[in-house]
C-alpha cells in the first residue's frame, strides 16, 4: 500500500512539473525530487521491512536452531511445511479467519453505517467512539477479557444458564467445535468498528444528488442501499478489506492468549506456529519458511483484492 501511495504522489508531481520544461535533464531531475521526499520513508522501509524479509528468506534455506551452527537445508523446510498436516491446517485456519475479520465486519459496518447515515443522531460521536474502541485496545488485553468471557465459569455460560439454556454451556475454548468460532468472534468484534467508521465517512462523500435521483426514480431505502450506497463505497470497502484481511492472516495475539492454538490444533494459526517453531522447537529455518509462505500468500491475496476492487475506467 505504501508503495502504490508513493507512486501516486510521484505521478501527480510529475504531471505538474514536467510539461513546463520538456528538457530531458530537467525531467530526470524532476523524477529524482519526489524520490528524495520519499527517501527517509523508503530507507526505513528497506531497513526494517525489506531487509528482514530477505533475511528471513535466507534463513528459511537453513537448518538452524537460532543459536548454534546452521547447516544448509535447501528446500527441506518448505517440504516440511507441506508435509506437516498441522502447519497446513494453520494456513487453512488463517484463511478461514478472513470470514470473521473481514467479511462479517464489512457487512455489519455497511448496514450500521447506512442506518446511522439516514438518521442523524445527537449521540453520534459517543456511539462512534464506543464502536471504534476495540481498535484502540491492545489485542492481548482483548484476548484476555474474551478468554474470561468464554471460561467455563465465565459470563457467557452464566448468561446461557440465566435464560434456561444450561444444556448448551461448556468450556467454549476447550471445545473442538466451538473454540475456532469463539476466537473468530473476537476478530469480528475488533474489526467492526474500523469498517463502520471507514464506511460511514465514505457515505458522507457520496453525491446527495445520486440519492435524490434514485428517489425520483421511485427507489426505496433498500434499492438505494444496493444501487447507490454500496457502489459508492467501493473504495472504502477495498481499504477496509485490505486492512482486515492482513490482520486475519497475520493474527497471533488473540489466538495465542485465548487458546494458544488448542484444543488439539483446532485454532492453530501460522502466527502461533511460527512463534512455537522459533522459541520452543528451535527450528528457526522452518519458522522462517512458514513466515515466507504466509507473506507470499498475503501478497497474492492483496493482489487479487486490488484487481477485484479496482475501479474500471
Amino acid at each position: 500500500m505504501a508503495d502504490s501511495l508513493a507512486n501516486r504522489v510521484a505521478v501527480r508531481d510529475r504531471t505538474v512539473v514536467a510539461p513546463a520544461t520538456p528538457v530531458r535533464a530537467r525531467r530526470s531531475r524532476a523524477r529524482l525530487v519526489p524520490l528524495l521526499y520519499t527517501a527517509p520513508a523508503l530507507l526505513f522501509y528497506a531497513a526494517f521491512v525489506i531487509a528482514p524479509w530477505l533475511h528471513s528468506l535466507w534463513i528459511s534455506f537453513w537448518d538452524w536452531n537460532g543459536i548454534g551452527v546452521a547447516t544448509w537445508a535447501g528446500l527441506d523446510n518448505y517440504r516440511e511445511i507441506l508435509a506437516d498436516p498441522a502447519l497446513r491446517l494453520s494456513l487453512v485456519h488463517a484463511f478461514g479467519l478472513i470470514l470473521f475479520y473481514s467479511v462479517i465486519p464489512i457487512c455489519f459496518g455497511l448496514v450500521l453505517a447506512a442506518l446511522v447515515a439516514n438518521v442523524p443522531w445527537k449521540g453520534m460521536p459517543f456511539v462512534r467512539t464506543v464502536i471504534f474502541l476495540p481498535q484502540i485496545l491492545p489485542l492481548v488485553a482483548v484476548g484476555s477479557v474474551w478468554k474470561l468471557f468464554f471460561d467455563d465459569d465465565g459470563p457467557f455460560n452464566a448468561l446461557l444458564r440465566a435464560v434456561g439454556l444450561s444444556d448448551l454451556t461448556r468450556a467454549w475454548l476447550g471445545d473442538f467445535t466451538w473454540a475456532y468460532p469463539a476466537v473468530g468472534v473476537v476478530g469480528t468484534w475488533v474489526s467492526t468498528g474500523l469498517c463502520f467508521l471507514l464506511l460511514y465517512s465514505g457515505i458522507g462523500k457520496i453525491d446527495p444528488a445520486l440519492y435524490e435521483a434514485a428517489r425520483l426514480d421511485g427507489a426505496g431505502a433498500i434499492h438505494e442501499f444496493w444501487h447507490v450506497t454500496v457502489p459508492g463505497l467501493r473504495r472504502e470497502m477495498s481499504v477496509a478489506a485490505t486492512v482486515t484481511v492482513i490482520a486475519a492472516l497475520a493474527s497471533f495475539d488473540v489466538v495465542y492468549v485465548m487458546t494458544a492454538g488448542g484444543p488439539g490444533e483446532s485454532t492453530l494459526v501460522p502466527g502461533v506456529a511460527i512463534y512455537r517453531l522459533t522459541f520452543t522447537a528451535g527450528q528457526v529455518g522452518t519458522a522462517c519458511a512458514l513466515a515466507v509462505v504466509l507473506s507470499l500468500l498475503t501478497c497474492a491475496v492483496m493482489f487479487a483484492l486490488n484487481r477485484l476492487t479496482r475501479e474500471k475506467t
Binding site: 531497513a47 526494517f48 521491512v49 531487509a51 528482514p52 524479509w53 533475511h55 528471513s56 535466507w58 534463513i59 537453513w62 538452524w64 536452531n65 537460532g66 543459536i67 548454534g68 551452527v69 546452521a70 544448509w72 498441522a86 491492545p138 489485542l139 471460561d151 467455563d152 461448556r170 468450556a171 467454549w172 475454548l173 476447550g174 471445545d175 473442538f176 486492512v243 492482513i246 490482520a247 497475520a250 493474527s251 497471533f252 495475539d253 492454538g261 488448542g262 484444543p263 488439539g264 490444533e265 502466527g271 511460527i274 512463534y275 512455537r276 522459533t278 522459541f279 520452543t280 522447537a281 528451535g282 528457526v284 519458522a287 522462517c288 513466515a291
Partner: protein, 438 residues
C-alpha cells in the same frame, strides 16, 4: 499495524542483527575447547568483591529470597543479583540470554534442551568431584542433569547442573470427602483408585479434578505408565536413549484409563478448557476427590483444605513419582565460575533446604526439615521418602524433546475429547520423540 505479530517483529529484529553477521546464520563454533571434565578447579569463594547474576522463574526461585541473603551473610564479598521471569518467557529466552554478551552467571535450568549441545553452560563435573556432589545425592537425583557426549542423550555422562531442591507429582486427595464416601485410606493400588473413583461418581462427587488446557492429563498417563512398566525401563525413553519407544504396555494402559475415565464421567467434560490453576482452585473448593498435581501447589492446597488435604505417591506396585529438581547451571560466559560453584554447593546445605521446603520443594536429604504430623507437608515428606526408597523418581515426559510439551498438550486434548484412540495418541507422541532421538 498493531496486529503485526510479535513473533514476526522479534524475528525481524533478530534478522537485522544477524544480517550484520556472517553469511550462514548463527555463530560458527567459537573454537573454545569444551571444558574438560578433568579440569583443575578450586573450591570456596575467591577473595575480593564478586558480583553474580542469577536468573530463575518466580515459582522455582521463590526460595532464593531467603537463600541469597544467607549465602551473602557467610561471604560478605559476594553480591548476588536475582531476577525472575515467568515460566514460559523464561524458557523461551534462556538460550538467548546465555549466548549474549551480558549472560547471567547462574541460571535455573528447567530442561537441558540445547544448552549443552550449543556449548552454553559449563561442564560441572570438576566441581562435582571437588565438592563431592556425587556421593551427597542419590544417583537418580543427578542423572537428569547428566548429558552424554552427543549433547542430547540424558542420564549418563558429565554433570551440567546442580539440584537445589525437588518437586514430585503425586496424588492429592480430599480426606473429608473420602471419609464421607466410606473409604478409610488413600488407595494403594490402581484397582483401589478405580474403585474409589467409581464410588465417588456414585456418591455424586467429582471423582477426579482434571484441567487439560495445558496438557496435564499427561501426568496420570505417565504415572500409570511408569508404575506399570517399572521406573528403570520407563526412564530410558524420557532420557532419550536410542531405540526406546513410547509404545509400552504401561503407556497404553495409561492412555486407555484416561479415555475410560472420561467415558465414565470421572472428570469434567470441560477438562480441555480448564487450566492447571483453575483445576487447583476447584479442588481447593471441594470439587474433586482426587487430583494429580505437583508438590509446587501443595502450599496453596494445604492452606485452603487444611487438615483435609492429603498427598500420596501415585498408587502402583512401586512408589513412583514424576519429578525434577530445581537445578542451577553456570553460564560458560561467567567470569566468576568458582564463586558460582560455591553458591551451587551452598544450595544443598540445611539453610537452603529449609527455605526451599517452605515453598513446597523437597530437599534431597529430608532429615534437615520437619513437618507437623497430619499436615500436607508431612505427607509430602513421607511420599518423597517412599519414592526414593523405590528409586522411583522419573523426569517429566514433557521434557523428552523440545517440542514434547506442545505435542502432549495437543495430543492429550484430542485423546480426552475422543478425537483419537490410545494407539493413535501413542504413535503421535513417539513420532515427535523419534524426530530428536530417532
Amino acid at each position: 499495524m498493531k496486529s503485526m505479530t510479535s513473533a514476526k517483529s522479534a524475528l525481524s529484529a533478530a534478522a537485522v542483527l544477524l544480517a550484520l553477521g556472517a553469511c550462514a546464520p548463527g555463530s560458527s563454533s567459537d573454537g573454545e575447547p569444551a571444558a574438560d571434565a578433568n579440569a583443575a578447579v578450586q573450591t570456596g569463594v575467591p577473595a575480593g568483591p564478586v558480583e553474580l547474576n542469577l536468573i530463575a522463574t518466580p515459582e522455582s526461585g521463590a526460595a532464593m529470597k531467603d537463600i541469597i541473603p544467607a549465602f551473602q551473610a557467610k561471604h560478605p564479598n559476594v553480591k548476588i543479583n536475582y531476577v525472575d521471569t515467568t515460566y514460559d518467557d523464561y524458557n523461551k529466552s534462556l538460550n538467548l540470554a546465555l549466548s549474549s554478551d551480558t549472560s547471567p552467571d547462574i541460571v535455573l535450568l528447567n530442561a537441558v534442551g540445547t544448552t549443552v549441545k550449543d556449548q552454553l553452560i559449563l561442564n560441572l563435573q570438576p566441581y562435582a568431584k571437588a565438592y563431592g556432589w556425587e556421593s551427597a545425592y542419590p544417583a537418580g537425583q543427578l542423572n537428569q542433569w547428566r548429558v552424554a557426549k552427543d549433547g542430547t542423550t540424558l542420564g549418563s555422562g558429565d554433570l551440567y547442573a546442580a539440584p537445589a531442591s525437588f518437586s514430585q507429582v503425586g496424588l492429592y486427595y480430599n480426606k473429608a470427602t473420602l471419609k464421607k464416601l466410606g473409604i478409610d485410606a488413600a488407595p494403594a493400588s490402581l484397582e483401589d483408585l478405580e474403585a474409589a473413583l467409581a464410588k465417588a461418581k456414585a456418591g455424586g462427587e467429582t471423582p477426579l479434578q482434571l484441567g487439560n488446557k495445558e496438557g496435564h492429563a499427561s501426568f496420570p498417563i505417565q504415572l500409570i505408565g511408569q508404575s506399570t512398566d517399572g521406573p528403570a525401563a520407563y526412564a530410558k525413553w524420557v532420557f532419550g536413549e536410542g531405540g526406546s519407544t513410547f509404545d509400552t504396555a504401561g503407556n497404553t494402559k495409561g492412555a486407555q484409563s484416561i479415555t475410560d475415565w472420561g467415558t465414565k464421567g470421572y472428570y469434567s467434560k470441560d477438562a480441555n478448557g480448564i487450566d492447571l490453576q483453575g483445576a487447583v482452585d476447584k479442588f481447593t473448593k471441594g470439587d474433586g476427590v482426587f487430583f494429580v498435581d505437583g508438590s509446587w501447589d501443595s502450599k496453596k492446597i494445604g492452606d485452603a483444605l487444611k487438615g483435609d488435604a492429603g498427598f500420596v505417591p501415585f498408587p502402583g506396585p512401586k512408589a513412583t513419582a514424576i519429578g525434577t529438581s530445581v537445578a542451577y547451571g553456570i553460564s560458560r560466559k561467567s567470569k566468576n565460575a568458582q564463586a558460582a560453584a560455591a553458591f551451587l554447593d551452598f544450595l544443598r546445605g540445611p539453610e537452603a533446604a529449609k527455605a526451599s521446603f517452605a515453598q513446597g520443594f523437597l530437599p534431597s536429604d529430608t532429615s534437615t526439615v520437619t513437618a507437623e504430623p497430619g499436615t500436607i507437608s508431612a505427607d509430602l515428606i513421607a511420599a518423597w521418602n517412599k519414592v526414593n526408597a523405590d528409586d522411583g523418581l522419573i523426569g517429566f515426559n514433557n521434557n523428552a524433546t523440545a517440542t514434547m510439551n506442545d505435542t502432549l498438550v495437543a495430543e492429550t486434548q484430542k485423546l480426552i475429547a475422543g478425537k483419537v484412540d490410545p494407539a493413535t495418541f501413542i504413535r503421535a507422541v513417539q513420532s515427535d520423540w523419534a524426530k530428536t532421538h530417532g
